[in-house]
Amino acid sequence: MTDATVNFDGPHGPKPKPIFSGRNIFIYGTLAIVSAYYLLPLYIMIITSLKDMDQIRGGNAFELPIGPDFEAWVKAWSSACTGLNCDGLSRGFWNSFQILVPSVVISILIASVNGYALANWPFRWSNIFFTILIFGAFIPYQVMIYPIVIILRELGLYTKLTGLVMVHSIFGMPILTLLFRNYFTSVPEELFKAARVDGAGFWGIYFKIMVPMSLPIFVVAIILQVTGIWNDFLFGVIYTKAENYPMTVQLNNIVNSVQGTKEYNVNMAATILTGLVPLVVYFISGKLFVRGIAAGAVKG
């Protein structure tokens, strides 16, 4: 080891960069400005919702609430008035809930079976069928609004929650089917063949092989549908009536009700409440999503 003596004096390797290098200041500065830009409205919404009307009339939007109180939140939930009724957002929440759950479940169930059939059980016209279905995703839905009104009326479902559930389920179909079909095509074909040799049929393979392998894509589909349906306003207004309005419509009616003074704190609280469901879904499923991908990535 004579020729390999190590030189221990002084530091080696590239010099560590200082934390406050121009590059770092630029990157983090930009990030800070952009996040402030997005977070500021949220900040104002939250503090305003915790103020009372006297303080709001005081005029400084950035001022922290004096003795924060949750009265506005309670009011927004249970007793804020629209032009028609005075039971707050709670009514809209339950309506939205009753629309959301069946729509999400039905659309995902049907679309996943569609996608599975198209990916693994090609039939004579399956490609044409698939093309037509995808084409459906590109038809502007303004075109379909009135025909659907007529269809729902003929079915006796117009203004009913069931009708709206049906509309949401159908409108979610093209994109969800595409999503599932693409996922199932990526499952190795030999797995499917092995299951057929093992005597599993259409449903056996679907439930016992495909579904357990597909948690990530189901989570993606749930996120898409929950946020899409919860945030829907247009279909809610058009296809339901006052006592069946979803939360978004109810929110609009509270914020835009013309009686008395504008209660900014109540409006802010109501808006946050309405956005809470998609927010929660993002937080929970984000974690599940990562776990799902990790579990799904294991090759068999």
């Binding site: 190795p188 030999e190 797995l191 063949k193 092995a194 299951a195 057929r196 040799v197 093992d198 005597g199 599993a200 056996g204 016992k208 092989i209 357990p212 392998m213 294991v298 090759k299 068999g300």
Partner: protein
């Protein structure tokens, strides 16, 4: 009749307008180990999938164990199948994988347990039963995949390149194990590979395929020693057979090329050999280095390249532009650039008609 386990009659298969299998006929005996060998894309997997019922045939018939199964479901054909990618169900344990097919058959619980235990015993995978496939090595996964075919208790096993995802050492181990398994079970096995060592070591008979046709169907030694055409001769054997373009002369008694001539006495022809253009194929181990020149027996050749292979050495000679390789024991030493006398063992060589490429 009763001796035939799998019988394929006039099988056609098209993907759209592409004909992959054309009027294919094949009879496989009970307990036979048949290897389908051929270059990539020749239709080996396609044929196997047809036998398994995973592809709908375009024409012809398939009989398995005396039953016409041309249009039966895969599960009703009495076959078990092992895939190249193992294709284990990732979310089930090894036991779950083995039981899956049996549960689908709705077999009684104790029967299922008995069969799983037997398969696990034969394949030495008892300790793995409660693991998930992700926690197994490649060799263990393939063993489980074989087990999944084993528990089905069927007459015919289909293998689609089961060893090609494994490393060389494991592959040779499992190859021996498969041979032992075949001796023990005495099922019919149909085995797809493009590894000729696997084919030669495992097979009772080899079917060499090319472009959807079977080129030769024979036992390994026949395929090796008496290839039925030029393609088979070139495909089988490593290092490959040397091919010499030339002409048969003197009433079929000698072969000449580039002014050289070798006598054909000792060659076992299929029929009468006529004069005309032909190709002489000689395997490297049938080329010897002689000390003296003998007219009509030896060729003057210059040594080009020396390739040591370990136990043997491969020598590449040049005879006026024709390349001939010879396999010699590695103890002997040779010098490139020098001239040697090559002796060709005509009794073990192959002659092909230049036009039809068929063996003469």
């Amino acid at each position: 009749m009763s001796d035939v386990s799998v019988s394929v009659k006039n099988l056609d298969l098209n993907f759209g307008s592409v004909e992959v299998l054309k009027d294919l006929n094949l009879d496989i005996h009970h307990g036979e180990f048949l290897v389908l060998l051929g270059p990539s894309g020749c239709g080996k997997s396609t044929l196997l999938n047809c036998l398994a019922g995973l592809l709908d045939v375009s024409g012809g018939q398939i009989h398995i164990s005396g039953k016409n199964v041309t249009w039966s479901e895969p599960k009703d054909r009495g076959i078990g199948m092992v895939f190249q990618s193992y294709a284990l169900y990732p979310q089930m344990t090894v036991r779950g994988n083995l039981e899956f097919g049996l549960k689908n058959q709705k077999l009684p619980k104790d029967e299922i347990e008995k069969r799983v235990a037997r398969a696990a015993d034969i394949l030495q995978i008892q300790e793995l039963l409660n693991r998930k496939p992700a926690a197994l090595s490649g060799g263990q996964r393939q063993r489980v995949a074989i087990g999944r075919a084993l528990v089905r208790d069927v007459d015919v096993f289909l293998f689609d390149e089961p060893l090609s995802n494994l490393d060389a050492k494991l592959r040779s181990e499992l190859r021996v194990e498969l041979k032992r398994l075949h001796n023990q079970l005495a099922n019919t096995m149909i085995y797809v590979t493009h590894d000729q060592i696997e084919a030669l070591t495992l097979a009772d008979r080899i079917a060499i395929m090319r472009g959807g046709y079977i080129q030769q169907l024979a036992d390994p030694m026949t395929v090796y020693n008496k290839p039925s055409n030029l393609f088979v001769a070139g495909f089988i054997g490593s290092p490959a057979m040397s091919m010499i373009d030339g002409e048969i002369q003197n009433g079929g008694t000698s072969f000449s090329f580039k002014g050289h001539s070798v006598t054909l006495s000792g060659y076992e022809a299929n029929g009468e050999v006529h004069d005309g253009k032909a190709i002489l194929g000689v395997r490297p181990e049938h080329v010897s280095i002689e000390s003296t020149a003998q007219a009509g027996k030896t060729l003057e050749a210059t040594l080009d390249i020396i390739e040591p292979l370990g136990s043997n050495t491969l020598l590449w000679f040049n005879v006026d532009g024709v390349i001939i390789s010879a396999l010699v024991p590695s103890e002997l030493s040779y010098k490139s650039g020098q001239t040697y006398h090559l002796g060709l063992d005509i009794s073990k060589a192959s002659l092909f008609d230049a036009a039809s490429e068929q063996r003469l």
